[in-house]
Amino acid sequence: MTELTLVQAVNRGLHEAMRQDPEVLVLGEDVGVNGGVFRATEGLYKEFGADRVIDTPLSETGIIGAAIGMALYGLKPIAEIQFLDFIYPAFDQIVSELAKFRYRSGGQYPCHVVVRAPYGGGVKGGLYHSQSTEAYFAHTAGLKVAIPSTPADAKGLLLTAVHDPDPVIFLEPKRIYRAVTGEVPDGDHRVPFGQARLVREGNDVTLFAYGAMVGPAAEAAEALAAEGISAEVLDLRTLVPLDERAILASVEKTGRAVIVHEAARTCGFGAELSAVLAEKAFYSLRAPVARVTGYDTPFPYALEQAYLPNGETIAHAARTTVRAG
């Protein structure tokens, strides 16, 4: 075990993956000599060289298209997109190609690609360094979506992603890159996909969150406990595949659900979760499902704290839900 920040854990995960398998390589903008703008790839260039740690020209479609080509040929590329906000020049490659290669070729051409990207707000990054658009990818059949919230999960989910034979969009909550530290197992630590993490047990209401919103949800649960409300906190860890068993089991117990994400509300991942609860936990629900999310506005600069959910707004929603029934 080693005490690490979340970004250090990503970095250890990358080192581990590259040491394990010479077919693994990293490509992206500023990932080599500079070690990545967030230092996630620090030290890789020195250890593995320019052959396996590739500084690319400024072209996201180039990065993803090339990663796909490498994977088709048998390598296991890990592509870094500097900010999730800058992934869209590669959207065609991701949605039309990466996600569909295995299916359209009847399984002949799988794409063993991991796409890493820092996402989310709270860093004074304005519209284009803050967005949380995981739903686009979760909506696209053929992509897995993983979002860690702790250093241990950052490494463990990343190593699982690298070993997964299918494309994985790996979203890193940059707001807590350095704000959280935690014990991280050394070596080949893997966290399986599709298994939510029980952050805190409770009986009255379940708070569902992932990534940077797990912290505020846990804060809310703490505040609620002082008021006699017992909140359970579940960290989804992967949106695709989704741990429906854990989600339903929790709501069967608590009878109430508050879904938290920083993405805009309309068609955010919370909409999918609510639908799952409506379809499969309807008779367990004692109150309407609540969503605490970003608003349906672009991500603002000066007002980012007003836009983002926080411990208080989550607690408020949970209280309302508990009072409702």
Binding site: E29, D30, G32, V33, N34, G35, V37, D55, P57, L58, S59, T61, G62, D85, F86, Y88, P89, K124, G125, G126, L127, Y128, H129, R265, T266, Y295, D296, T297, P298, P300, Y301, A302, L303, E304, Q305, A306, Y307, N310, E312, T313, H316
Partner: protein, 361 residues
Amino acid sequence: MTGAIADPSGPTVESTEVADLTPERLRDAYRWMVLSRTVDERCLSLQRQGRIGFYAPLAGQEAAQVGTALALKPEDWIFPAYREVAVALVRGTPLGRVFDQMIGNAFDTSKGRQMPNHFAWRDQHYVSASSPIGTQITQAVGAAMAAQRRRDGIVTVTFFGDGATSSNDFHAGLNLAGVFQTPTVFVCQNNQWAISLPREQQTRSATLAEKGSAYGIPGVVVDGNNLRAVYTAVSEARRRAVSGGGPTLIEALVYRFGPHSTSDDPRRYRTDQQVAAAKERDPIALLRAELIESGDWDAARDAQLLERLRAEVATAFEASEAAPPVDPASLFDDVFLTPTPRLEEERREFAEREPMGGPRP
């Protein structure tokens, strides 16, 4: 040197034309360049003090920006990236407006929506800048197509970096502009770096200007540290554009003296010696030397100018800093002209949250 014009049909031709700049205009240009440098230095220090959130310095690119902006007409449209502070100033943006934007206060015409440097001033035809690299290039071409249709006799000018020449929009934009012979001036400020990636790793092309020939567009390499050379090249490109001669790609050779932005540590990928060598051709020092040599300027006036500009910048910033913050309820404005029912619902919900203290900015 005034630059070489690469003819799309093949051979490179030297441009010998030098624009006629009166001593007065040269001094004017110099003043803009010194003002830009003063703003730059001030902003870097303000960011370190936590008084603005971010800054992308333009030091080293003053002649490229001022020379271009001075060669344009007020009715021309600017499609900038995030480093074009000097362009904004020359277009007539008051310092206070620049700082209002950087702070994102109640007087910011963009209502605190964007990070510093991402300006939008409609009255100056300075189109809203975004962070994604290259996106403004195709937009500039579209605006030029519109101006062409209306026979407005204006040009659209788009600014972007060496890194942006690898973007989708660079290709798409130049191609469209070539096909439709739009009145567009593409100003590529080749500052040798895209964050940590050196120019030689961005493209194997010997010059960025020569990329124009693949699209049938003349490409011009110009010494971006030489105010006159930039002014000449842009004036020439503008003249060609408004007389129906189509677009021009101008590559201004400069060097980014500072970090990519306040989030960057350039020592990780380049040495201080490299930077010092580049600074020997500081565009401001070059123009100052020229002015002094021609008897139009002297050290005493220079010191006075600097002192005056520093005071102006400090005063303007303090006024912007004292301005009230944006109204939190404005969060929901401008998503659409008329808010959807869902947005109205969110606005009401937000207003109810306020008394709890949770959502305050």
